[in-house]
Symmetry: C2
Subunit: 468 residues, 2 copies
């Protein structure tokens, strides 16, 4: 019985048994998610759900990250989950095609705050949540993915696992929670035709539904025992082909799935990242200046060109999906971050000149490697006739080509400093980097409270930590 | 575009254009639902969700029917929806195989209370909610029904329609609400293997998710425009075969779908109802007494016998699924109501003697008529050699064989008088029978408020009504 196996795993995971690499990745996943939630909280879809949950009211159990107010645990999971999936900068698991963080972490954080859990408990919850969401995703991908937005559907199992872990559910209760997660799991791709906001709703609902399943299980509300493999269960209902063995293969053994996570450090479409990475490296190594550049040839796989071969992006949003723009931006500024996608850059004559020098080539050899690898070769020829070339097979942030903690912290500040201010962002980043020593997660997020700012900066930061 | 067609219909329906028969059925559906919610509110699954929503807290927007407390609109829709589907006495639409009331009415009531709608507005919302839920159900039944619990899935569309109508959404917002209803729709039959409480969770979630979709749409949160017919929409994702024409055929024309509703007046499995109906009629017409009866032959369709051919029910719950028990009970007491299923009756020697005289026969001719009809022939022979025979093709409560308002009121009191007391139940029944003249639905439900009882009975009832 798969739910029993997962429940055993969820019950057994303890902070003390986690390798340093797992703890590091869980911490980074949390920081990365938090940045996306901070910036997303200012966007229109997030504002709309904030209005709805404020009307509903609730006990002050968890933080609405966009405002620092305390709202009910279920509402916080929903609103923070929606916010975290708007910027398109959240982490992704390649094989499961799931943004586990957007569903798992808002659930884990809301419950952790409610029960005043420690940073270690939150880390445990993130590890088990990612494990369950990703494993269910791997079992049903790719056939499930045609109709169903995996982040919403499989994410619900991960959210329930994380919430159930924090609530200390016993094995039977965890099985019920997974059963009622699966029977609430939803999220259809149909929104894509209209670019509708449902995309953001999905992980928020996954988080909220997962928490509800766990809270109900704690009260003894029963659920299906074989929700994954049952004759009328989740996999058969939503995936023409599935592989249940992926749910339990090496379950409980290292490395944990959270370590397979990919982070996005550039603010553009993932398919632009390999070429941007190589361009940035060539610029840094050879000190290239825009005025030096005669031609730029980018060779890459077909899907990248299908989506990003746009030499004339009309909007800032379209620029994020324009490979020529992103490469030109990287050449001119040495960056490709959130703050670099501006109307000014979109109309910058230097960028336009560079874009016109970019040629895109579909490379059969590279294409054969996709999607296991996402390769690109960039060749830059200068006016003086020098040719610089580089290649990558994995965009930076993939587990095969990891980013540093410093890069993720930089990304976090780029996302969070605007909405939260630099000082609060620094406090939070510092605490998250040391999450295993945070005694009380709820206390940590007091820093976002509307009337807390003064107190923090006139006392000595306000976050209780273990002595080190 | 189907959502646009449905949105037009939802927007156009006005109380003044509804025929008396439609208003009557909507009122009866509300009364019937209310009784199920009252009795269900005392059951274990309802108590568990009550515990969860009380922890979450919220603005006092709508009544938690089990306690009379005011809780948030979204929580009320959830908790009341769960309660209303526990007694297995709620109404059903045969062709769509959906308990529309359990999903639509808790959504409609919660929003109506929140906005202080009138009885007429509530009736409009019930009519459009039933129409949408049943039409979507008809479009995907039966292939959808293998994996998906229609009450949970299609019910979400009906809940969104009812909530959207009450909130006065414009056409574009209604389309978004339907889009985000469909993308949240869920509920798998897998719980059946374990008899898990998920069954009750489904209509509660349908109600809550439908209300959320409507509340979000009011704020401008967009959803898929073609959620029903789209290439990656609800029908293709959840039904191997479907018929979209059923969603719009004669849409807006009378009779409305709420009039096709079937009510249950006996407290047993629906498959026992035809034989119970005939037995009650023979008892009433011929004054039969248990001591007179020598043999009872029941001829019916195969499915009825597959499920109810149990001569030795071991529990009161099993007795509700025992055709011999239900027929014996009808013979002895002239009733088959909620209060008749007791441990005393289960061990009553007269009932046991009568059960031993019941023979069950699968009748090929009757079976050929099922499921369009649910027929039974009952033949009772007395010790003096007289034979009395009767037949029905539709259990009472089907639209072809309607029950009276008095019978539904009797059923309501049987369900509600225990949990709410006789006086409150009478006040509510009286008001619902005159729902079109209730000025403020929220005011009506003040009668359930924990500290309201005294006030009602020392003043003159407290419910504001139109002058008549």
């Amino acid at each position: 019985m798969l739910s029993h196996r997962l429940a055993d795993f969820i019950g057994q995971i303890q902070y003390d048994m986690l390798p340093a690499a797992t703890v590091h990745m869980a911490r980074m996943a949390f920081l990365d998610w938090l940045g996306s939630a901070a910036a997303g909280g200012l966007q229109a879809p997030a504002k709309k759900i904030q209005a709805v949950v404020k009307q509903q009211g609730g006990s002050p159990q968890a933080t609405l990250l966009a405002t620092g107010e305390k709202i009910s645990c279920l509402n916080a999971a929903l609103a923070n989950g929606i916010a975290s999936h708007i910027m398109e900068l959240d982490d992704v698991h390649r094989a499961a095609i799931i943004h586990a963080g957007a569903a798992v972490i808002p659930a884990a954080l809301a419950v952790a705050e409610m029960i005043r859990a420690s940073g270690r408990q939150l880390l445990e919850a993130i590890v088990v949540g990612y494990e369950v969401a990703i494993r269910v995703g791997e079992a049903v991908t790719p056939s499930h993915y045609y109709f169903w937005h995996t982040t919403g559907t499989c994410g619900t199992f991960g959210a329930a696992a994380a919430a159930g872990k924090l609530l200390g559910l016993n094995k039977e209760q965890l099985v019920w929670a997974l059963g009622n997660a699966g029977t609430q799991a939803a999220g259809l791709w149909e929104f894509l035709v209209d670019g509708a906001m449902s995309k953001h709703l999905h992980p928020g609902k996954a988080a909220q539904n997962g928490v509800l399943a766990a809270l109900l299980a704690r009260e003894g509300f029963t659920g299906a025992m074989r929700i994954l493999e049952g004759e009328r269960g989740f996999c058969r209902a939503t995936a023409p082909r599935f592989d249940l063995s992926k749910i339990t293969a090496n379950l409980g053994k290292q490395p944990y799935k959270v370590e397979e996570n990919s982070f996005k450090i550039h603010a553009s479409c993932r398919h632009t990242h390999p070429a941007v990475d190589v361009t940035l490296e060539l610029v840094a190594r050879h000190g290239l200046k825009p005025a030096d550049v005669a031609t730029i040839i980018v060779r890459t796989y077909r899907t990248a060109l299908d989506i990003t071969a746009n030499h004339q992006p009309a909007t800032v949003y379209a620029a994020k999906f324009s490979l020529p723009f992103c490469v030109a931006l990287a050449l001119q500024t040495g960056r490709c971050g959130l703050e670099d996608f501006t109307p000014e850059k979109l109309s910058d004559p230097v960028i336009h000149d560079l874009m016109s020098r970019v040629s895109l080539v579909m490379d059969e050899e590279l294409d054969a490697l996709h999607p296991a690898r996402w390769p690109a070769i960039v060749e830059i020829e200068t006016h003086s006739g020098q040719v610089y070339q580089g290649r990558t097979d994995f965009p930076r942030g993939d587990p095969e080509n990891p980013v540093t903690a410093e890069e993720l912290v930089t990304k976090f500040h780029a996302l969070a400093a605007g909405p939260w201010g630099e000082q609060r962002s620094r406090v939070l980043a510092q605490a998250v980097l040391d999450l295993e020593n945070v005694v009380d997660v709820a206390d940590l997020f007091q820093v976002l409270s509307p009337n807390h700012y003064g107190r923090v900066w006139h006392s000595s930061c306000g976050i209780t930590q273990h002595e080190r």
